[in-house]
Structure formats: structure tokens, C-alpha cells
């Protein structure tokens, strides 16, 4: 275990205000839909209203006659190249070619002089279909003779994974106790409040695209691939982004259409979704059917675990291939056991595609395993926390899949959460209708491999000091979707340079102006962009110190301090810089200001620029699929929830919750706790209330709005006590940091579900655990 060196940081570890505070609290922050350009047109997608059909004809003639309509495009007007995450599963086109695969699928796009005309035009477009039988569940999709949704996925089987480590069958044979449980997750949705929006315009051969997205680079890459453009010819940038949670990573039909329509019309085009369309765009959590078999010894130590996951994927693959791997690849990080078999299947269905949502494929499997673990513990008489302590991974170990885990404080997290919650006094002792439960989780701190095969570094940072030294401009394509990456990156930049935080400005998420970063996904931003920017800051610092040596010598000031540096020439490493003051370490009264040194640098050498670079190197094992789950650093977390259940009505109230997140050094505690609160919020919503529903016959979305898709209000949200481990330090993270954003949502469903079990004595195995399901379960029990 590496020892954390306690440092006296100026900005790292401080609860500084967000850098966008003023804009966001005064209404000045601009989001993509707030942009307006002269002569701008408005556009929307044409969507199918059947679930599975051959397109026989698209008649746009009436719509074209409508005054104010400027252009209408369908598949015949755009490149037919497919896209997706993994080349083997590139299966999505800009617009459907011949066939629609879900109710709401993309058929084309219309733009007109104003919104009202666009809506009128959409009503005039007639699409003639030859309807095909459709399937809306994986069970139907997997049946013999089921309608084929894609030629390339026989039997509608889109992805299949078989991982085998050790000898599970032998382990189960020798176990003291073996148990099998079947659990079911549901389809959920990110439910960010800002709808997707894209605005594009052209200047000669170059296009500019504003996209409310999580990765400007990923959008730029795929648009250029499909549209046959050089990457240098397409500038993708973002304004403020109204959250993403995984749902704004894939390029949308809006991105493609905005660029194409603005080319055709020669005018700026704003493409937008309404609220329901963001649900149809989909990419939320897969419903997963899970079967778990585990054998333990009499103390609860896991000897072998066999796990089968079936994911219902919706119509396209997108990030779903990674979701399928993530459904099983991180279990062996959390708990240390020798024999593991993971079999996963992802089926395509005629519903909007599923993809990545906070925690990616992991939260439902976490729910399943954590509940399964409680049931095992109960059967053999071992307390749930003890079950977790005995199986928790330790620091500086290697997982079965070959992932190196450096810092890992899951045991400490369990102990701290146990003590803070009063677990020993409460567990099993709260009486009928009250319960307390625990769940564990964690996540990668950035994926070890990029989103597509490339030799590019994961992040590049640049800092430019303004000519007279009075401002530092920090550049990165990192995308602040609300998680606070701009603020924490500025904190690290200021710390590394020794320059005042207040004088740092961020230029983020712009492919022209800022430097490469793969964006906000896999909880990567703080570590990966953090490394690149920290190193850029250190580069600045080195140049400032070298310049200061020259200046100290020239002023003769240093002569007085000669003795302190041992009768030799002054060297950069005799100096340090902190909060804008350069000083001689042995004689801190000898100072220069950063500003005067930087100005002198500019005068004698030109622009002062710092550069940083980050690549995690080769990570992970060699088996097929080993890439998904690799990371330079893994967080871990324990959550405990206490609930009250009305034994008459089934109504659940979560009364108290505790979270301990093993996050390494925390750059900004105030923002860190905000991530934990929000993660818990999403998790409890998914545990009790949230589910995307479709008509069983037509596949039509039923609750694409926030009245019927029930994300919790302020009245539903319990208090959350977010705690941290003081001596958590990650050697692979800049300043010793690890992730929090996604990992903190992975223990929640397990913790809440286990608390409900403790309260009512009935095992609830199907998400969401609604009041009605609890009521029915209690009725059946009687």
C-alpha cells in the first residue's frame, strides 16, 4: 500500500465554488437550444409510427409545398455508412434504409423557417409501410421462428459472452452451501432535463456543429467517418450541457441532420427533440434477466459463482456491446474469489435502443448480486456486512480477469458505513415494517481503452498563459455535463502551476480550440483529463522556474541568498511557486511574482504554453473482451439504507441513507458529495419507481414524460450522509484521486432492496420494487 504524503495544497481538496456558478444561478448560462444565429432554420426528425416494417414509399410532396419548408431529407439523400461503438456491430444508419426497427425509428428530417411550420410539415409527410411481425421482449426475440430484426444477428442474438475462470462446477460441488436466485431488472431512462439539441452551420468547406453531447470528439469522429469529411473540416463544440448520464454519448440523428441540412440550405439549422423524443432516442438501461448460483464455505467466503445475464437491447447496438461486458466484468473487482463463470446474451428487439446509463451495465447486476449475497448470508447465519467483509477485494491485487487493482478500501468502507448507520443495533431489530440493508459497488475510473480503436492518447491538455501573466487559459475537450469537471480540472491546473485559481479560465469541449479528450463517460474525466492538465500545469511551472532563475540572477537579488543554496549556481529546483508567488525554497523572502516572470518569458521567448499527455498504457488480461473493465483505478463504495414499509399498502419510505465512497483524494469535497447525492437519487428512483413502458401490441412508448416516468421529487428523496475515507490514495490518479460519479449509483439498488427485505421478510426479485408489488407480495405471504 502506497503511503499518502500529506501535502499542503492550495486548491486541491478545497470546496471551491463551481466555475460556472454565476452563469448558472443568474440564467446567463447558454445551452444548445438557447443559441440563435441570423437566418437560422428549425428542424426535426421524421419518425416511424410502427415498430417493424419495410418502408414502401415516403411521400414528402405535400410537405414540400408548404410555405416555409426549406428541405426534407431521407435515407436516399445521405450516406449509407453504418456506425456504432464496435465495428463488428455497426448497425445504425443516419436514417432507416428500407426498414424501420422500432416505433419512433428515424426516417428523415425536415427543416423550415420556424418550429410551427416544421410540425405542420411533419403531419403532411406520408410513409407507406409493409408491416412485419415485431418482438418486444428478449423471450419473444429468442423464440424459434421469431421475426429477424437484423440479418447479421441470427435468432436476434446480438452479443454473446462466455467467460470462465477457474472451475466453478468443482467449486460448487465442494461448497458448504449453494444457492441459485433469479432476478429481473427493468428498462430505465437517464431523464436529464435538457433535451438533445444540435445547431450547425457552414463556412465554405468547413462546418461547425454545436451539440448537447458528452463527447465532442466521439461525435466528430463518427460524423466525419459517415459523412466522408476530414476531421479538421468539422468543428464540434458544446455550450453548457444539461446533463447526460450516458444518454448523450452516441451521435444522434439531430447531429447528422443539422450538418447535412445546413449544407443543403446554406443556412444555420437547429435540430431539436421534444421530451418524448429523448425517450425514443433511448440508450437508457437495459432490462437484464439474471440467474446467479454461488457456493460458499461456512463463513460465507465465496468459492465459486456462476452467473447468466440476458440483456434486452432494443433495436440497435450502440454502446450496448460494452453494457453487456460491464454486466459481468466488474464483479471480480469488487469481490475476490477464484472460480467464476459469466455467460451473457444480448438480444435485439423492436424497441428504442438501450445503452449506457450511469454505472453502465453494472447497477442491475449489483442489485442482483447484493440481494443474492444477503439471502446466502441469511441461510448460513452470517451477517450481511460480515459476508461482504470476508469477500471484499484487498488493495494491490490482481483480479481473475487480469486487472491490476492498486488502492482498494472496500473493507474500510463497509466498516465505516456499518458504524455510522448504527447497523449492529438496527439490523433485524427494527421490527415489522422497518429495515436496514447494505449494498456494495464501485466503478472504473475511466475505461482502459478508447471508444474506438486508435493509437491516440486518452487525453491531451494545454495551458496558455496570457501575455502579461494575468490569466491562464486551460484547454481540454473534456465535457462538463454538470459533474463539475471544468471546476476540478481548473483546481488541478492551478495547483500544478502554482497559479491563482481565480485567474484560470477553461476552454473545454471544442474540437477546434481545445485539445483532445474523449469526453464524459466511464467516470473518466477527472482522472484522465486531470492527468493531462496536471502535466500541462507542471510544464508551465518548470518554464516559470527556469525563467525565474534567469531573473533572480539578473537582478543580483540572489547574491544575498547564495549561502542558502550552497555556493553554486541557482537552479530551477531551488525554487518553488505557489498561488502566483515564485520563491527560493531555502529563503522564502526572496520572491518574484508569477505574473512578472510570465511576462518576461513572453517578451524573451514568446507564448508561454504548457503541454500534457495521458495514456494509461496496456491494461488487463488477454481473454476475449478483456478490454471492457480495464481501468487505471477502481473505486469502491458501500451504501446503507433504512426504510419504512407500510404493511397495509406497500408504500415504501426511505428514511435514512449512508454512503462511504473510496474515491482516493477528493479534489472538491462539495462537488464530490453532490455526485453521491445525485447517484443515490438515480439509484433509489430505479429501485422503487422508474420504468419505461411500451404498449405490448404496438411497441409504442407509453410514458415518455415526467408525469408518468416517475423520477423522484424533492418529497421522495431521503437524506444522504456522504462519508469519505481519509487515507484513500490512488497511485494511478493525479493527486491520488479516483472516480465517484458512476460508482456511487451502483450500490444503491442493492442497499434499498435489502432494506425492504429486512422490513417485510419477502424477497423482492424484480425491479422496480413498486408499492403495488410489495402490497401483492405481502398479501401472498398472508
Amino acid at each position: 500500500m502506497s503511503v499518502k504524503i500529506k501535502r499542503d495544497y492550495s486548491y486541491v481538496g478545497k470546496s471551491l465554488d463551481r466555475n460556472d456558478s454565476y452563469q448558472k444561478t443568474t440564467g446567463r448560462a447558454q445551452y444548445t437550444a438557447d443559441l440563435k444565429f441570423p437566418n437560422m432554420l428549425y428542424g426535426k426528425l421524421i419518425r416511424s409510427n410502427v415498430a417493424h416494417a419495410i418502408i414502401k414509399n415516403i411521400d414528402t410532396s405535400e410537405a414540400e409545398k408548404l410555405p416555409g419548408v426549406k428541405a426534407i431529407i431521407t435515407a436516399k439523400d445521405v450516406p449509407a455508412m453504418k456506425f456504432g461503438l464496435s465495428p463488428a456491430r455497426f448497425d445504425e444508419n443516419i436514417f432507416c434504409i428500407d426498414r424501420v426497427r422500432y416505433n419512433g425509428d428515424k426516417i428523415g428530417a425536415v427543416c423550415a423557417v420556424d418550429e410551427e411550420t416544421v410540425y405542420k410539415a411533419l403531419k403532411l409527410i406520408k410513409v407507406e409501410y409493409e408491416e412485419l411481425p415485431a418482438v418486444f421482449t428478449w423471450q419473444d426475440a429468442a423464440k424459434e421462428g421469431a421475426p429477424q430484426i437484423f440479418e447479421e444477428y441470427p435468432g436476434n442474438l446480438n452479443t454473446e459472452i462466455h467467460h470462465k475462470f477457474g472451475d466453478v462446477d468443482e467449486a460448487l460441488k465442494n461448497a458448504y452451501y449453494v444457492r441459485t436466485d433469479r432476478l429481473q431488472g427493468q428498462r430505465t431512462y437517464h431523464a436529464f432535463i435538457e433535451n438533445h439539441c444540435s445547431v450547425a452551420y457552414w463556412d465554405g468547406d468547413r462546418a461547425t456543429l454545436y451539440s448537447s453531447c458528452q463527447s465532442v470528439h466521439y461525435v466528430q469522429y463518427h460524423l466525419c467517418r459517415v459523412l466522408g469529411m476530414k476531421m479538421g473540416d468539422l468543428r464540434v463544440l458544446k455550450t453548457h450541457v444539461g446533463a447526460g448520464f450516458g444518454g448523450k454519448l452516441d451521435p444522434t440523428g439531430l447531429d447528422f441532420s443539422a450538418v447535412i441540412l445546413s449544407k443543403i440550405t446554406g443556412q444555420p439549422v437547429k435540430m431539436f427533440y421534444d421530451h418524448e423524443e429523448t425517450f425514443l432516442n433511448g440508450r437508457g438501461r437495459h432490462p437484464i434477466t439474471m440467474e446467479l448460483t454461488t457456493g460458499v464455505d461456512k463463513n460465507g467466503k465465496i468459492l465459486g459463482h456462476k452467473y447468466k445475464a440476458i440483456l434486452e437491447g432494443g433495436a440497435y447496438t450502440g454502446l450496448g456491446i460494452a453494457s453487456t461486458y460491464y454486466a459481468g466484468s466488474l464483479l471480480g473487482v469488487l469481490y475476490d474469489f477464484e472460480n467464476y463463470q459469466f455467460d451473457a446474451y444480448r438480444y435485439v428487439t423492436n424497441l428504442p435502443p438501450c445503452g449506457a446509463q450511469r454505472g453502465h451495465g453494472q447497477p442491475q447486476p449489483r442489485f442482483a448480486f447484493e440481494h443474492h449475497l444477503d439471502l446466502i448470508g441469511e441461510a448460513i447465519g452470517v451477517d450481511p456486512i460480515d459476508m461482504r467483509l470476508i469477500n471484499a477485494r484487498k488493495a494491490n491485487t490482481v483480479t481473475l480477469a487480469g486487472y491490476e487493482v492498486k488502492s482498494y478500501n472496500l473493507r474500510a468502507a463497509n466498516e465505516m458505513a456499518r458504524d455510522a448507520s448504527g447497523w449492529k443495533e438496527k439490523r433485524g431489530k427494527l421490527g415489522v415494517g422497518r429495515g436496514i440493508g447494505v449494498g456494495n459497488g464501485g466503478f472504473v475510473t475511466g475505461a482502459g481503452f478508447c471508444q474506438y480503436r486508435t493509437d491516440l492518447p486518452h487525453s491531451v491538455g494545454m495551458i496558455k498563459i496570457y501575455d502579461d501573466g494575468t490569466q491562464a487559459f486551460v484547454y481540454s475537450q473534456a465535457v462538463d455535463i454538470g459533474q463539475g469537471s471544468d471546476t476540478v480540472l481548473l483546481q488541478m491546473a492551478a495547483e500544478a502551476m502554482g497559479y491563482p485559481y481565480e485567474q484560470c479560465t477553461m476552454y473545454a469541449g471544442d474540437t477546434d480550440l481545445s485539445t483532445l479528450d474523449f469526453g464524459a463517460y466511464a467516470s473518466r474525466q477527472t482522472l484522465m483529463a486531470g492527468w493531462a492538465i496536471k502535466r500541462a500545469g507542471e510544464d508551465i511551472k518548470q518554464k516559470i522556474l527556469e525563467q525565474a532563475v534567469e531573473m533572480f540572477r539578473a537582478t543580483g537579488k540572489i547574491k544575498e541568498g547564495w549561502a542558502y543554496i550552497g555556493n553554486r549556481e541557482l537552479r530551477p529546483d531551488d525554487l518553488d511557486v505557489k498561488e502566483g508567488i515564485v520563491y527560493v525554497k531555502q529563503e522564502p523572502s526572496l520572491t518574484l511574482t508569477f505574473e512578472e516572470v510570465a511576462r518576461r518569458y513572453f517578451v524573451t521567448k514568446g507564448v508561454l504554453i504548457g503541454r500534457g499527455w495521458y495514456h494509461p498504457g496496456k491494461l488487463g488480461g488477454n481473454h476475449k473482451g478483456a478490454a471492457v473493465g480495464t481501468s487505471p483505478a477502481y473505486s469502491s463504495a458501500t451504501q446503507i439504507a433504512e426504510v419504512k414499509v407500510d404493511m397495509e399498502t406497500g408504500q415504501i419510505e426511505c428514511v435514512d441513507t449512508w454512503d462511504v465512497h473510496d474515491s482516493g483524494t477528493i479534489i472538491n469535497p462539495k462537488l464530490f458529495h453532490g455526485q453521491v447525492h445525485g447517484a443515490f437519487y438515480m439509484g433509489i428512483g430505479e429501485t422503487i419507481w422508474e420504468e419505461v413502458l411500451f404498449d405490448k401490441k404496438t411497441g409504442k412508448l407509453l410514458n415518455g414524460n415526467f408525469a408518468e416516468y416517475r423520477l423522484p421529487t424533492a418529497l421522495d428523496m431521503p437524506p444522504v450522509l456522504s462519508l469519505t475515507l481519509d487515507d484513500s490514495w490512488e497511485p494511478n490518479g493525479p493527486y491520488g484521486l479516483k472516480e465517484v460519479g458512476e460508482g456511487a449509483t451502483t450500490p444503491t439498488m442493492g442497499a434499498v432492496a435489502n432494506a425492504i427485505y429486512d422490513a417485510i421478510g419477502v424477497s423482492m426479485t424484480e425491479l422496480p420494487i413498486t408499492y403495488e408489488k410489495v402490497w401483492r407480495a405481502l398479501k401472498d405471504k398472508k
Binding site: 447558454q30 444539461g242 455535463i481
Partner: protein, 165 residues
């Protein structure tokens, strides 16, 4: 009733004068123009956000004659001669309102998309009830959805703002 003119297609348009953040604005609107679109499109006051347009999310909340309302559920025609306060009118020039200050101090926003509406709802509550209980704060913002914060810091910020004034 507002002055009405009829265009060449027979669509009626109305002249309305609305006081927004202390200034009168006179514009021609259609009968179906929503207050949220009036603010954003006619006045370029983009601080009021457009989310669900169904009255579910609350991110377009403004004060109408001092009461918090969803601007997507109010017609521009219906606010003729009335007073609207948007997020742009919460601060006094460069001096932030105590609610805004406390939102910053408590990190009561992340992506910021719900924040305008959340601050307006909170301000409307404190105008009517200067020392609300925690439950009353939660009730007042129950119509403002936030997917990022879990409301934890928002509730703290509003309670803190209430104590300070």
C-alpha cells in the same frame, strides 16, 4: 382585451404589454403563444428554460404577479398587463439574491438546467413564507425536477437562505 389584428391567412394576432422584471415590453403574439416562448423567442430571455413543455419538470418556472407558475402552461395573451419575474430579474443588478448566493455556496446545482426554475420557485416561497420548514421547502420545489443533485444541497441552500433574511 388586447388589440387584435388578422393576418392574410386569417390568423389573429394580439398586441400585449407585459411587465417583465420591471420593464414593459409590447409585442404582437398569437393566441397560442406560450409565455415560455414569448420570453425566450420575443424577448431573448433564455434564462427561462424549456424542458418538457407539459408542466412536469418546472424548469420554465417564473413568477406571475408574485406566484410561481410554469411558463409553458400560461399563454402570453393571458399575461397582458401583468407582472412577470424571471431568473434574470432575481438579482439586483450585479448583487446576487441571497437564494442565488446560497445555491452557489451549497453547490445546489450541477448541470444547471433546472436551476433557473428552482431559484424562482425558492424565491417565491421565501417571499410568502420567510421561514419555511424543511417539508415546506420540499413541497415548494416538488414541481421542479432535478436529475443531478438529489435535491439534498438545494433544500439546504433554501433553508440557509431563509435563515439569513
Amino acid at each position: 382585451m388586447a388589440n387584435c389584428i388578422v393576418d392574410k391567412d386569417g390568423v389573429k394576432r394580439y398586441l400585449v404589454t407585459v411587465n417583465v422584471n420591471g420593464s414593459d415590453f409590447t409585442k404582437v403574439v398569437k393566441a397560442n403563444t406560450l409565455l415560455v416562448n414569448f420570453l425566450r423567442e420575443e424577448l431573448d430571455m433564455i434564462g427561462t428554460k424549456k424542458g418538457c413543455e407539459l408542466g412536469d419538470c418546472g424548469c420554465c418556472t417564473v413568477m406571475l404577479d408574485g406566484k410561481a407558475v410554469n411558463a409553458c402552461l400560461v399563454l402570453a395573451l393571458d399575461v397582458d398587463g401583468r407582472e412577470v419575474t424571471t431568473i434574470e430579474g432575481i438579482a439586483d443588478g450585479e448583487d446576487l439574491d441571497i437564494v442565488q448566493e446560497k445555491f452557489i455556496e451549497h453547490a445546489a446545482f450541477q448541470c444547471g438546467f433546472c436551476t433557473s426554475g428552482m431559484i424562482v420557485s425558492s424565491r417565491a416561497l421565501l417571499n410568502e413564507n420567510p421561514s419555511p420548514s424543511e417539508y415546506e421547502v420540499r413541497e415548494a420545489i416538488a414541481g421542479n425536477l432535478c436529475r443531478c443533485t438529489g435535491y439534498v444541497n438545494i433544500v439546504e441552500a433554501v433553508l440557509d437562505a431563509a435563515e439569513k433574511k
